[in-house]
Symmetry: C3
Subunit: 436 residues, 3 copies
């Protein structure tokens, strides 16, 4: 019942461009090693880059390297391959150059085209500019005997006008004189966007651009595309990269640029629901994962303390503030302080339960998550209720749908997924929610 997607894949986790160009020193070797990645090491989409990272004088060589590596290794590469060519909304000769690069890469005589899924067009402007790239790809399809619309097109949003264009995409893409249904990924390119917006920060770090990411995600949702966040420069900062992805997923942006094979692994794994659930303590400005011991959740730190001082009387201290509470008040207070991160297993359980209720004619049911907290040796049983209706159920489906999408399109990751979750859960996760 949701908006039609342009392609079968609904989620793309990784948009992998090595920061090294497709031409220049060592580039052939690096291209080959990227093409031979497998499993969690291999991205959902690999973007051999013949734009920014390649000096202008080396781009002809770049196309040749790219064609050689893709024709040799493309058949075995488990993800999709979408080379990035040059393009610029303000420069016709750059656009013509991009056209020629695509024409050459897809020349049937070069043997690469059957492994090319589409192209990435950087620096697009208004929708009329997107249409120029679309038209070139249409011409290429006709010249090379490919089906019209068989090559996808992804764009990098790195100007104000491209951000605005995403609002009109849904209305334009059905028109008979274009093939914009080929649009696949909408990718934020924050470095050039920052330049285009004349934005500055004291340290030269990139602004957060939350509104851009929202608008990209919304544009993707409305036009059947997939939203992908830009490069995360500080490649040593794995924790920061993970946090950025948590933020992005909360905006509906499921993919992220990866600059290194290490970032690919992190970005492939991050959006999948965890194998085991966990309880969090949410303090003022801190989130602490509790230690699960024999089904009980133990807190060991000293930001919180609890003492039983009478039959029905407890003293709870949080952040230096003390309260005396009876058992019921304590229960309430601890409910407020805790939250649960469900496992894949939990999510599948809840969905199956709701599906059964719906068949029995119920519109809404309560789901309960219970555990025993242990704080300073004092044990407290808590139970969190949440009402589920059709909308809750549909929203909870998203991480499962992502899992199903990955499982279906990435057989090379089956082993890793089964090792991660166990076979039983994989099977149930693949079965749930599929009759809608």
């Amino acid at each position: 019942m949701s908006s039609d997607r342009n392609y079968e894949r609904e989620f793309v986790r990784t948009f992998f461009t090595s920061p090294t160009a497709v031409s220049g020193e060592n580039s052939a070797k690096m291209l080959q090693s990227a093409a031979q990645l497998r499993g969690m090491q291999a991205p959902d989409t690999w973007i051999p880059d013949n734009e920014d990272a390649t000096a202008p004088s080396m781009r002809a060589e770049g196309v040749q390297n790219l064609v050689e590596v893709v024709s040799e290794h493309g058949a075995d590469f488990p993800g999709e391959i979408h080379p990035r060519v040059v393009w610029h909304r303000d420069d016709p000769s750059t656009r013509y150059e991009g056209f020629k690069q695509m024409l050459e890469i897809t020349d049937p005589e070069n043997g690469a085209v059957e492994h090319i899924d589409g192209f990435v067009i950087p620096e697009v402007g208004d929708l009329d500019d997107w249409k120029k790239a679309d038209e070139f790809i249409t011409i290429i399809e006709h010249e090379h005997g490919l089906d019209e619309g068989s090559l996808s097109m992804s764009v990098i949003i790195e100007s104000g006008e491209a951000e605005l264009a995403m609002s009109d995409l849904r209305a334009e893409k059905g028109k008979p004189s274009n093939n914009l249904e080929r649009l696949f990924l909408l990718v934020d390119g924050q470095v050039d966007y920052t330049k285009d917006m004349r934005a500055m920060t004291p340290t030269g770090e990139l602004p957060a651009w939350a509104e851009l990411r929202h608008n990209t995600s919304r544009g993707a949702s409305a036009a059947g595309c997939i939203a992908v966040d830009g490069p995360y420069d500080d490649i040593r900062d794995v924790e920061g990269y993970r946090e950025r992805m948590v933020e992005n997923r909360a905006m509906g942006m499921t993919g992220i640029w990866a600059l290194t094979p290490g970032q690919v692994v992190t970005a492939n794994e991050a959006p999948l629901p965890p194998k085991t659930g966990s309880w969090l303590l949410e303090l003022d400005d801190d989130e602490i994962e509790l230690d699960a011991e024999d089904g009980r959740q133990v807190y060991d730190g000293d930001e919180l303390s609890l003492e039983q001082v009478g039959d029905d009387s407890y003293v709870l201290r949080v952040d230096g503030e003390e309260q005396e509470l009876d058992a019921e008040e304590l229960h309430e207070e601890l409910l407020d302080l805790t939250t649960y991160v469900p496992s894949m297993d939990d999510i599948v359980d809840s969905m199956e339960e709701f599906e059964a209720a719906k068949e029995a004619g119920k519109g809404a049911i309560a789901m309960t998550q219970a555990t025993t907290l242990v704080i300073d040796g004092v044990e407290v049983d808590i139970a969190k209720d949440r009402m589920w209706d059709e909308a809750t159920y549909q929203a909870a489906m998203t991480p499962v749908a992502l899992f199903q999408d990955v499982y279906e399109h990435r057989p090379d990751q089956h082993d890793a997924l089964e090792e991660m979750y166990g076979e039983g859960i994989v099977e149930r996760a693949m079965a749930v929610g599929t009759d809608d």
Copy 2:
């Protein structure tokens, strides 16, 4: 001088849907008790819900229950009644079902129609989809002998395309082939929106969706509608619900969904200016209300300390940092640390003062708010000045305009309001700003 509103009401505080469906166990009883709410317990708009909370097989029964309860209790219900019917941008049979539900509910033979103010249409998509619902309502008005445009239409924004549609609403609503001037509430539906955007959070909690709320508020402002925030799931968390409303009002979203009668009361009261003003101490990450004692504002905590160490010499300690200041510097420092939350009385005073100045040919005047702070026994007089010009005056009018709107349309709340403010203030608040 501001944009024309589609309806006389400019503010709606409460959008009340019980989480229980209009059909199923206990539903008739719950519907009746909702219909009999009065005063601060009764919402501005009541939305008997025949969509998500009702299982698909029970919706015919839902319409019957709804018609019975509204025809029996509707005449005495003090708020407006806007049933929610089924609808989906991607499903013609759901839309046709929604049409039939509305046709039945408004059938003059059923006796409910004279108490029905409009309908809530969920899951709308592009503006062309909104127009389909609008057209059905127009047909219904003609079939049942109602004036064209007499039924309002409110929509739930729960997809990217609906969010985008709000940008075009202002331009479309005047066109001769629609009656979109009937649009009343733009309501964010964050659960389904989250699903539609493919968004995920680790705990399953809803993302904050600040941009969506901004865009809804802006769309409402531009098209003469009223913006309403979605359901706040954690119905025990009154403080969180209040904080959400403070955030919303700062975005121009004056209404919020209420799931329980308790939330209705909270949401009815929250946007009204307080009876008494209060001084706040704004520390690094804390906001502390000072105790008013005999017109002096006393601080008792230990995050701040003050000592007079000489004739014109003070030591002020804030967050562990000590400064030695003379009387003037101390005054400056304390001005920076304090802020005033004006009462209804204060606001009315300021507006009357500015109105008088304007008549006397002055464009801008300074308003002063003075008090005596008492910190560790040391007394310091402070006075805050603020320049008022026409724009300040107009912006300060908003809470008063909200009060006037409530007072005019909710006679059943007069007692509560007079008890809250006293009769004199109510009278002056109703008189101010009305000759513009």
Copy 3:
């Protein structure tokens, strides 16, 4: 290669309206003193205000004062002069009044027109409303024998519909029946916007309106205009004003309203890169500038402590947490905790280095920033690497481009700039990046 700007100036730092009107008590004197500001005291754009701050009955007198002062002092005023006249999207008589004010101000017989660069139109609505103002200015240009398009037009965004209009500006401004290429500044007017959005805060302070600022900046970027933030009311709060500008620049909003000559100086200086670079320690919620002593960066506080406990063993304590680290781990940890704010000199160095690399056929190079940290007497050498490619280079150009823009258009600020940076750096900064 970037979007065409409507005017030569790409950056405007200061939008100066005195809060005192152009008419009324002391106004002639205040106008004259504003017109005689020079150097860093003089704004990039001066907006003598005949709207909000002037009572309606005094506006004819306002025009006369304005004409007199501008004709006397305009030739020597170093910035641009853009009077604000009255206008309202919902009121034809206010619009007609605005037209008459502009007609009078530009009457060649009054001697002011040659010093008038354009007009500021407040309270605009839809783009069709902007076109009405544009048309009046076109008529005025013809009536008074000025070149079509020679007067610029700046607008104040203070309604939801004006915010929406900015999305369509790029597409509309090239059309043959308007002269919207005259658009210069898009200025947020948050007080009236707050009113129009029906927004409220408990204290009456203005909401942050981050989305509005983003949309204004994006609209300016897409349509060749310059984005300017609204007035900062608390004129004593210099630090807050600076912080607001840091936020704004990270959004691409380079200009800000100044209400006082003091704010003009602050706003003129703030966007320029610093004379000397500095190292920051980034703790949890704090950013601490380190003391540079003989090329070493010394930390003196107690939020961080470091002790060497063995040959290759250190104890680092941050925020109460202790870790034992070897030299390499310590280096990593300190890299994470520090960041560098480059000086103008550093930026110019990096750009020259990249330009040389590009000529030598390299697409990307690493830039290193090294220093010695001294914490509790322990010395640690650190080196931060950053990859630069064409996009990084272009983004780093923004502060230099701003400097070049200022230097070119404000000869009266040359002395201040040379004093600030030294002549050598000024010369190199003017030369860099100019062959693109």
